[in-house]
Amino acid sequence: MWVAVSGMDDLLQEFLGETGEHLDTVDRELVRFEQDPNNREILRTIFRLVHTVKGTCGFIGLPRLEALTHAAESVIGQFRDGATVNAIAVTAVLETIDRVKEILAELGEKGQEPEGNDETLIAELRALADTAKQELARSQPPVDAATDPVAAYMARHGVVPPESAEDGLDLVFRSAPGPERRADGRIETTSLPPGAPEEAAQRDSRSGGPPTLRVNVDTIEHLMTMVSELVLTRNQLLEISRRQEDVALKAPLQRLSLITAELQDGVMKIRMQPIGNAWSKLPRIVRDLSSELGKRIELIMEGADTELDRQILDLIKDPLTHMVRNCADHAIEPPQARKAAGKAEHGTVRLAAYHEGGSVTIQISDDGRGLDLARIRRKAVQQGLAPEAEVERMSDAQASRFIFHPGFSTAEAVTAVSGRGVGMDVVKVNVDAIGGLIDVASVSGQGTTITIKIPLTLAIVSALIVASGEQRFAIPQIVVRELVRVKAGAEHRVELINGAPVLRLRERLLPIIVLGALMEGTAGAVGEGFVVVTQIGERQFGIMVDSVFHTEEIVVKPMSTKLRHIPIFSGNTILGDGAVVLIVDPNGIARLVGAAVAAGAPQGFAPAETQRLAERTTMLVFRAGPDSVKAVPLALVTRLEEVPANHFEISGGRTLLNYRGRLMPVTPVGETAIRTQGLQPLVIISEGELTMGLAVDAIVDIVDEVLDVELQAMLDQGALGSAIIRGRATEILDLAHYLPKGDPNWLSGRRGGGDATGGVLLVEPSGFLREMLVPVLKAAGLRVVPAGDIESARRNAAGDGAVLLDLDRDAQGAFALAAELRAADGGPGRQIVGLTSFVTPDLEAAATRAGLDRIMVKFDRRALLAELTEFRPGMRQAA
């Protein structure tokens, strides 16, 4: 800043700063005024500001700016006199303000007004002013000087109305009390230069508030640094006095402590700015967008006076603008669409901010179309962010959070339809960076709300000081929910699932991350200690530490650039005893151990890994029966539970369990005998509304292996086949065999009676995938003919059933087959769907050329079934 303006006189520098602020206000007020043309208060503000800018420009000698502002002023003057406020005129004035800003920017850089021609703009403004003037002349009888109080006032004080003021005799404005009024109430009779009353009025309104002083931001930053150091020194002194019993020291130290705290508060207050400052440009943006897009959008701003640290304000400014733009651009539907949906024609974007504890919550909500969750799910699978089955099991809230996933929004296809998403990942990164939390809630057709919770300040935070091993760490208090003392054998104890520590907390399993293990990269002993329950968004996890000391206000110092790459620390600080401690970044921990915290967290699978999913599968291995190890793909499992045996109920020969307020059928797997006492391990499988429990003897392990499944001829044995897992022959469970056992309604309840007329030819070279898909299709009531290669498919292709074609192994062969089938049918009578692990635009184009109806991701079971069942009625009619 300093460099840019060095060599320019102070006057000009001050002019730039002040004018910039004025213009921002004008921007905002004009938009408000357009919506509320009868509000003379707003108009008065605008006129005053524009006039001040004009006056100062003339004073300093900036002819170009003066001419522009003068022209804008005359148009605004017409509004004041009652001319109709129309969008064209407001746009022209706003354009003028933009031009003025451009000139100001150059002025700031070069120290002089740039060359340029504003004739066109000025002419436009003049024309607008003239039109408005004529309109006024038509609608109003000529002013009689005798009856018009203003004219009378003017005459009385000998003011000659200037050319521009001729149309600018504003009653409200001129009759406003100004400092010209003497103490006795008489008005000064000196002849005032044109425009002086306006300036007087401005001075008046200023003198109404407390006097203010402009201070360079750097000065305040420096002051803040000093105060931070002072806080540290105070803490050190306190620490020393705690160890010494020097009474003489106690009293002054107490005072020092209080004064330091007050000073800290005071300096923080200086840095605080109303959040409205970050919003000032939004009304204009929304206005421009709505006229551009032909939408009607109302922007409501609540809590604009909520104060925030300047540094944070700067950081969230752009994300906020971005999100509001998103709302206006994508979320709010065009008026016709809104009307058709039974909503008010004008959409509303609501921005609200309020204090909550030591943080500020900002909400951006709209009453638009909401997120297209189905599409988000599909896209998440396509982009390989999570396996299909996992995405499918996610709640809507969890699925919506994919919009924050890095790169999720870059694909243009999503954003066009689902609306939100352009750069939401960037927004999240920004919010994360300041230790904030972001979440989204959306109701289809009713709108979306994004909630951001950010700390008041970054400079000084409250932190919990904990110890792990020899070392102390600070955990920001804002993310800490509670502390739980854990001890082996006690009520709260840490248990292990395949080495991964978990804690039972109020009927929920909380994943635990052992801080010491994280630090040393070795498995730490899980015995006694404290679990710091941490919440980020809706994700909860525990950080296990050895001991907890106290909460301390710490001054956050940034990590050295050499250490900034370590994700688990967000900074460091100096404690009262002079020791440097590292500040743990819970966001970083959550990301680092992402897999362990997977309780609903979108995972970062690279697309390449998705492609490999074809061979690599995560399996849940369990024991069922005395000598039988079985496995089921983990993706199909909803939950693992241990239930006391006496909770089971037997009804009509079936075992039932009251599970989460519902009766859930329980089926033993293989030779498992459902226990009559103790705890019974259950594997919970759910699909939509239906849930069932598979009783097993014991959960053994979760393995991630390349499976070489040897298929079994007899599918009815409840196994698809067997594979060697960890050196042991393991049966792969055929869920389709068990599902109807648990709930006979499973099949019929699913797809409206399960009309099994539709035959499906499944062409899938991978035996394992084929066997996984067949039960799924069968369960949906479809008759399936599996084929391992294109040749055998060709032999079985008679009939008019749908064809599912694998495109991964031999795309050309598959396309050739599709073309043959189309030719044989003589039309599009038959449904042909291509299956692939990874959809690319090229493949999609090729598939369309080959006459395929659709191309889908292999693992997207839900979409696949939807596609097949939707197509069936059409087929029947055609047949």
Binding site: K562, L563, F569, G578, L582
Partner: protein, 173 residues
């Protein structure tokens, strides 16, 4: 953080005129790692101090010993011995009352401390005794050395401080 002016005392070893005194002579703060004498350009050395309490940083690069508090400033401590690919005796590292000799350096607005075996005197050496780094030096050394001064009794390897602080650069690797 504000960068303190370099007027801060350098623990009595650096004379006031040493800063500006260039020309045909070069000034170095000498330090030793094992038997080897090393020179740090005096203009880059901020101060010399004894580091007593260092907070190790888990997952940090091996050369980074940790963070220490120097008069209210957090300083990143780098082990020069390790940086030069020498063996580090763990017992010499912080136990209860260990004291490490550190050379304070400001680099790109941040404070660093180079942990050395010992700090020697300040030397003013003539340019004529300066030679480029011998070509056959070990890579971990040649990358960090700016040249060599021939002294009467021994050789002084001049360190390139920017290279030393550029952790992540191939050194011992």
């Amino acid at each position: 953080m504000s960068r303190n002016a370099t007027s801060e005392a350098m623990s009595g070893i650096v004379g006031g005129e040493a800063q500006a005194g260039f020309g045909d002579s070069l000034d170095y703060v000498t330090v030793t790692i094992g038997e080897q004498l090393l020179g740090l350009p005096i203009s880059r050395v901020h101060d010399v101090f004894i580091a007593t309490r260092i907070t190790p940083v888990p997952r940090a690069p091996a050369e980074i010993v940790g963070l220490l508090n120097l008069r209210g400033k957090v300083v990143t401590a780098i082990c020069l011995r390790k940086r030069l690919g020498r063996f580090v005796d763990l017992s010499s590292h912080c136990n209860e009352s260990c004291e490490l000799t550190a050379v304070g350096i400001d680099h790109a607005g941040e404070a660093y401390a180079l942990i050395v075996d010992a700090v020697g005197e300040v030397m003013r050496l003539d340019r004529s005794s300066f030679e480029p780094t011998p070509v056959h030096l070990d890579r971990s050394w040649s990358a960090l050395a700016a040249g060599v001064h021939r002294l009467e009794e021994r050789l002084l390897v001049v360190l390139d401080i920017d290279a030393v602080l550029n952790i992540g650069m191939p050194a011992a690797a």
